[in-house]
């Protein structure tokens, strides 16, 4: 069968598109692949490939500086996530549902940490902290992280709150539930997906943050990314590669598990409906 000119052209375009996409994905995934590969490198500092070993996956637990900074990062990330999601959830509802003086101002303020380069906000906070004599440390890093996590959390959750229509809340109150009961039973469940993605976003932003953690850290302890930054000159050691490989695998595994559970729940629900 003869293929028309138009079809030929379309086919050529589609092949071209696929090739292009593969190249882009390759560029995005090469760094990840290289990072994983060098976690198996048999060399004290990662300079070149020197043979295969799995020893770093055991040895990384002996590296107290590494493990210490990992814990430090995890604690900060968990706390930053909790604070940001708490303030973000009630804040998103408050900013969406209530008219008050200065609401527009606060809404604009929320965009500053998202848009302005992080270094600017970091040094601005640093100046304030040093001026009022706050000791730099976990507290200041936490404040820094929350300051950019809260706006992201609010933007994410706001998108889940339906416009001006609060008929679900009205229905709940109409049926006898007071404001707190309504919040727990109706409002929160309906924005839960947004709250979950806000939590995920806050956690990933916090755990990967360098700038705030670097500028607002005390002398004693640094977060994992800051430790990596400081290792850079001497060369990053393969146990760090091993640790970050484990971390990304855990995140991806959690994502996949989450999707499996979600689709399983959906299937079960569809089945029930069919019966």
């Amino acid at each position: 069968m003869a293929v028309s000119k138009v079809q030929k052209k379309k086919k050529a375009f589609s092949i071209l598109g696929n090739v292009y996409a593969v190249i882009i994905y390759a560029i995005l995934y090469i760094p990840v692949a290289v990072m994983m590969m060098f976690s198996f490198n048999d060399q004290r500092y990662n300079y070149y490939w020197n043979g295969f070993t799995t020893k770093w996956y055991g040895k990384l637990f002996e590296n107290s500086a590494l493990i210490g900074s990992l814990w430090y990062s995890l604690i900060i990330a968990v706390l930053a996530t909790l604070i940001s999601v708490l303030i973000g959830t009630i804040g998103a509802l408050g900013l969406k549902r209530f008219e008050f003086k200065g609401r527009k101002f606060i809404n604009n303020m929320l965009y500053i940490p998202i848009i302005v380069p992080e270094i600017v906000l970091a040094v601005a906070l640093l100046i304030i902290f040093l001026n009022i004599g706050t000791a730099l440390g976990m507290g200041t890093i936490l404040i820094g992280h929350c300051t950019f996590c809260i706006p992201y959390a609010i933007v994410t959750i706001k998108g889940r709150i339906s416009g001006d229509d609060n008929s679900l809340e009205e229905a709940s109150m109409d049926l006898g539930a007071n404001r707190i009961q309504t919040f727990i039973r109706v409002t929160l469940p309906s924005i839960m997906p947004g709250v979950m993605s806000a939590a995920f976003l806050s956690f990933t932003l916090s755990i990967d943050d360098v700038v705030m953690s670097n500028m607002l850290a005390g002398a004693k302890q640094s977060t994992l990314p800051v430790l990596i930054l400081s290792m850079n000159k001497a060369g990053v050691t393969p146990d760090v590669n091993a640790l970050t490989t484990i971390m990304i695998l855990v995140i991806v595994a959690a994502m996949i598990l989450n999707n499996i559970i979600k689709s399983a729940l959906k299937k079960r629900q569809n089945k029930e409906v069919a019966i």
């Binding site: 009205e170 229905a171 049926l175 006898g176 029930e272």
Partner: protein, 366 residues
């Protein structure tokens, strides 16, 4: 007027009273000095075009809006400092407002769960209620998996299970297609009769209001124009707005030329017409409303009437065919027959008239 009051009073006492109630949003006055008594056990409809204040009135009774002035009483008790969840009224929302994350069962059980009713009783009452609205077997479904009509039934069941003194319904059938809407109208009426609960029903659909209601309050621009039983609203509209809003009417504006007993002769720009009524004086400006089905046609002038016009065209409406006649002042008068009126032709000159008692005299609104 008196007849109407007595008739309603026989149904019981006022369960909801609105006294001089007003609602302003900024400078916009949505409800103006409204007085309304809703009787126990009646099906009262607030009917009017969008923006007439009917939904706002309903929301003030439910407690979602606060009255700017005036008093609202339920069973003789003032309720303005009561929260929506403290009021013995329940609402069926226009968009159903079913909780998307809960099953049908949990939606219906919601009010009882909040009241901490024992689980066994909740189960029993929810199943009863679902049977009442013909949704048995749908307990486990999520609202997403229901059709519009089914969602509507769930919304009604969810409100009714709390045994409200008054059920408020805000255009509950608005989203349904015509056939389903008609079916649900009958079902709602049946439910209301069976349970004896007071229904306050908001709609802009006059046909719906006429079919279901015990009484209709026709609202326009924040004011109740007329409050009466359906056939009175249809047959004896009190204002020009009501005459125009309910059904189709030919409305003439004019001045009283002569009053002879209850026969009033009115001079309008389209010509002279006659109507029966009382309380009108000579030279008073007024309106005359006449339904298309009552308009008669003649080839010769009729005594008492002077309504000469030219047949313009015929409009097929399914069950009736309407004939449009152009008057000398440009007004179009329509009359309807079950078949096309072959006695007249397009462009023919005709004289229109009616039996004066079939037309309605309407006072000039202030």
């Amino acid at each position: 007027m008196f007849r109407e009051k007595n008739e309603v009073n026989s149904m019981g006492d006022a369960i909801v009273s609105l006294i001089e109630v007003e609602k302003r949003f900024g400078s916009n006055q949505v409800v103006k000095k409204m007085n309304l008594e809703i009787m126990e056990g009646e099906f009262l409809t607030l009917l009017g075009p969008s923006g007439c204040g009917k939904t706002t009135t309903l929301r003030m009774i439910a407690g979602f809006e606060d009255a700017s002035a005036g008093v609202i009483k339920v069973q003789g008790e003032r309720i303005e400092d009561k929260e929506p969840y403290q009021r013995d009224v329940n609402t069926v929302f226009q968009n159903y407002a079913l909780f998307p994350h809960m099953s049908v069962f949990d939606n219906v059980a919601y009010g009882l769960t909040i009241k901490k009713v024992p689980k066994e009783e909740i189960k029993k009452r929810v199943l009863e209620m679902l049977e009442l609205v013909q949704l048995k077997g749908y307990e486990k479904r999520k609202p997403d998996a229901l059709s519009g009509g089914q969602k509507q039934r769930v919304a009604i069941a969810r409100a009714l299970i709390n045994n409200p003194k008054v059920l408020l319904l805000d255009e509950p059938l608005g989203a349904l297609d015509l056939k389903l809407r008609k079916q649900m109208q009958l079902e709602l009426k049946r439910l209301q009769r069976k349970l004896g609960i007071t229904f306050v029903y908001v709609t802009h659909d006059q046909e719906e209001a006429l079919t279901m209601s015990d009484r209709i309050a026709v609202m326009n621009a924040g004011v109740i124009e007329q409050l009466a039983v359906p056939n009175e609203i249809y047959d004896r509209p009190k204002t020009k707005f009501v005459a125009g809003f309910i059904g189709e009417s030919n409305i003439f504006d004019g001045t009283v030329k002569a009053v002879d007993g209850d026969l009033i002769t009115v001079e309008t720009s389209a010509g002279t017409v006659q109507v029966k009524g009382s309380g009108f004086q000579e030279r008073e400006t007024m309106h005359v409303s006449v339904r298309p089905e009552y308009v008669e046609v003649s080839k010769e002038p009729i005594p008492g009437f002077d309504l000469k016009g030219t047949v313009k065209d015929f409009i097929y409406m399914g069950t009736v065919v309407k004939t449009a006649v152009d008057m000398k002042d440009g007004m179009e008068v329509r009359y309807s027959r079950f078949e096309q009126d072959y006695s007249v032709k397009e462009q023919e000159t005709v004289y229109l008239y009616w039996r004066p008692e079939k037309a309605v005299p309407i006072k000039q609104s202030r």
